[in-house]
Symmetry: C2
Subunit: 428 residues, 2 copies
């Protein structure tokens, strides 16, 4: 992609109203723009990252046996009356009347809707177990939206829902999602700590929050250092993690007698990016969903629900991956892998070498070519700010001696190479 064709409005100044680093950098790197309080447009670079995060989340959901679907954003109030949550939900629910006065709402979550859809088609134990998920925009009318997309009102969430015939099945579905979450965060290069959670408004006995570690994180968590030694790919990883002490500060403060010796108790800052619940028959009972069992009886299926803040993950990724010059994207979510800088746009030799590099690199990987008529300093600052893993810099002096400069954004390491060697290094 050429910079002249896409839309990357990088800011030189730090926006005054952005309190946290991810918010500042998302604005400065031209990833997002606010269009109303707590509501953001995703500009081309931001959208590319959002899609890559979604792809990682999706892949791990599918690997865990969940099937993807897509529920609409607008729901009917009647659906929520069936479960009894319509009145209980409070002012965070965006309530809407349509043209004929029917009460609707912008979905903050989908327990009712998925239960309604699944129960309408399901009569027998043979259709269970089943886990369905979707990645869809949600709206929560936060009283004080802030921290950019970290606490926005319109946000992208992956929510999965499991239906099982018995407690053992529900536990298995819960653990499959637990594992999927560990793998998702690991695949994004994030270190996540599962924390036993008070269950909140969705209800249920078994519940964990997942906190991504970042020095600039919003909340403090306390956990047993032993947690860091658990191999998440081990068969008993979920069991061991569940059994290891980890608490959010507020909950930890309530623990009279912490079982972890002081020298093993770690305090770290984190960002909550996921929340999973197993709540049994809460919705299937209130909404009247029952299935026939093998032996001719009927039961209410047992459910769990599993949320990941997909847009929030982008904030967490930036909190965990930045330096003074800007964002430092991990390879797997970088909007482009290579930034190509032409230091003398309009110079025939520089343009020719850039065109050649752009074409050959684009055949193998994703490239953002800064082809604007700007000074070198501005181009360097922009490229550092948007944080692509590799920079390839073409200038008149290098062109004469047949070399380009390559810079690794994370390590800062620079090297001079022939164009062929640069391409080989990047694509190997």
């Amino acid at each position: 992609m050429k910079m002249s064709r896409t839309f990357v409005p990088v800011l030189r100044e730090t926006p005054a109203d952005a309190e946290i680093v991810s918010h500042r950098l998302m604005l400065r790197a031209g990833l997002i723009r606010q269009t109303a309080a707590g509501i953001y447009a995703w500009l081309p670079l931001g959208l590319r990252v959002l899609q890559k995060i979604s792809d990682v989340v999706r892949a791990e959901q599918e690997r865990a046996g969940a099937a993807e679907m897509l529920m609409p954003t607008i729901q009917s109030a009647d659906l929520w009356r069936k479960s009894g949550r319509y009145d209980a939900y409070g002012p965070e629910m965006l309530r809407i009347a349509d043209r004929s006065g029917r009460e609707m709402l912008y979905g903050p979550t989908n327990e009712e809707m998925i239960t309604q859809i699944f129960m309408s088609e399901t009569k027998s134990y043979r259709d269970l177990p089943k886990t369905l998920f979707h990645i869809q925009w949600k709206f929560r009318d936060e009283v004080r939206p802030r921290f950019g997309i970290m606490r926005g009102r319109e946000f992208l969430m992956k929510d999965a829902y499991s239906f099982d015939l018995d407690e053992a099945g529900m536990k298995e579905s819960y653990e499959a999602q637990f594992r999927a979450y560990l793998r998702t965060f690991a695949a994004l290069g994030l270190k996540a700590v599962p924390v036993r959670a008070p269950s909140g408004p969705i209800g249920g006995d078994m519940s964990h929050e997942f906190h991504v570690l970042a020095e600039t994180g919003e909340s403090a968590i306390f956990y047993d250092a032993a947690l860091e030694d658990i191999d998440i790919d081990a068969p008993d990883a979920v069991e061991r993690l569940s059994a290891t002490y980890a608490m959010e500060e507020e909950e930890h403060a309530k623990v009279a007698d912490c079982p972890v010796p002081a020298d093993r108790l770690l305090k770290r800052r984190g960002i909550e990016v996921g929340h999973i619940f197993a709540f049994g028959t809460k919705y299937t009972q209130s909404m009247g969903f029952s299935v026939q069992t093998k032996d001719g009886g009927t039961i209410h299926p047992l459910m769990g629900s599993y949320g990941v803040g997909v847009s929030r993950l982008m904030g967490a990724l930036i909190e965990a991956n930045h330096d003074d010059d800007g964002i430092v994207w991990p390879d797997q979510v970088a909007p482009y892998r290579v930034g190509l800088i032409n230091l003398r746009q309009g110079d025939a030799d520089c343009d020719a070498m850039c065109d050649d590099l752009y074409e050959r690199l684009s055949a193998a990987t994703s490239v953002l070519y800064d082809d604007r008529d700007e000074r070198g300093g501005a181009k360097f600052a922009t490229m550092d700010m948007i944080g692509l893993p590799w920079q390839v810099i073409v200038g008149p002096r290098g062109v004469k001696s047949g070399v380009v400069e390559m810079k690794n954004r994370r390590t800062g390491e620079k090297m001079e190479l022939s164009p062929d060697d640069a391409i080989a290094k990047i694509t190997s």
Copy 2:
């Protein structure tokens, strides 16, 4: 994907309230379910098709030089007051008050928002021309939603917006989108006729609708048979198509003296799937967007907007691709390329052959394996209904003689082959 793991609720009966064939088949094949009037959930098969259509639309937009971003669904009323459209839009706009009483709306289109975003970052002629697009859910509060997703309230639309410095640039951007539309519909295997359009509420002088031909289409169009001979890849295709007579019935009826001789005037049924407009400074003027020109003056950029109904295209695809037994998906949008049918689930030999075929086919293409414990008749009917291009049928008799049956859904052609030859035929 195994049928037992995903969610494909096929209906044996034709739903009573579905008036048109695409609506009936989308319900029967388990692609969608209605969750409120004119609002649908996309079940796993439906979502896969929606994603494939989106991918085709996206690829042609990018090829035409447009950059993808993503604007939010909820907009502020103030934004629409700037252009003067808030009061003018009428009851199809879903108007919302948030918790603090601020007036919001669910975006039916995005001219105001994209103008606001782009003008905030753009001061100079050097940042133009630019075409930006997004693929996002829209809401139009239809007074009488019907025909399933063809006239739903929440629907998926690709909308692109171009900004240019002069008339010639605007015409170029318009033609680039015109061409992208021709290519999009061709890539989907659809025959589309561009029809000169009255411009409607978005305004503007240059405007075309694109109608996909289907015998069961909603509207009649009249056009010069010469239109069918125009090669859409020719450099002058847009010019020639624009100059060739094509009108919707209502507009055609107003033409006193049709320039097309009766023997060349075709009447066909069609479905409107796209609408493009060039409206100049309508929004840039009302919203106060100006840029500096090269010679130091200022101008209001000239805009166009370009919509495709992505979810509507799925209806159009089904209207154009079905038979008495169900949907007949074109390869490029089929939810899976192959349907694997096990006629004797639980029979060790059938299961083993199916497992082997499933694994080997999945390595090369997308496969839906009907592993349910159902009778063969039900499995055949299901597979015909959901319309995957190829069926591979494994039964006890075939297993004994080392063959499977293969069926081409479109032609109905059947053949007996060894598993190796079946795989080779499908993956070649």
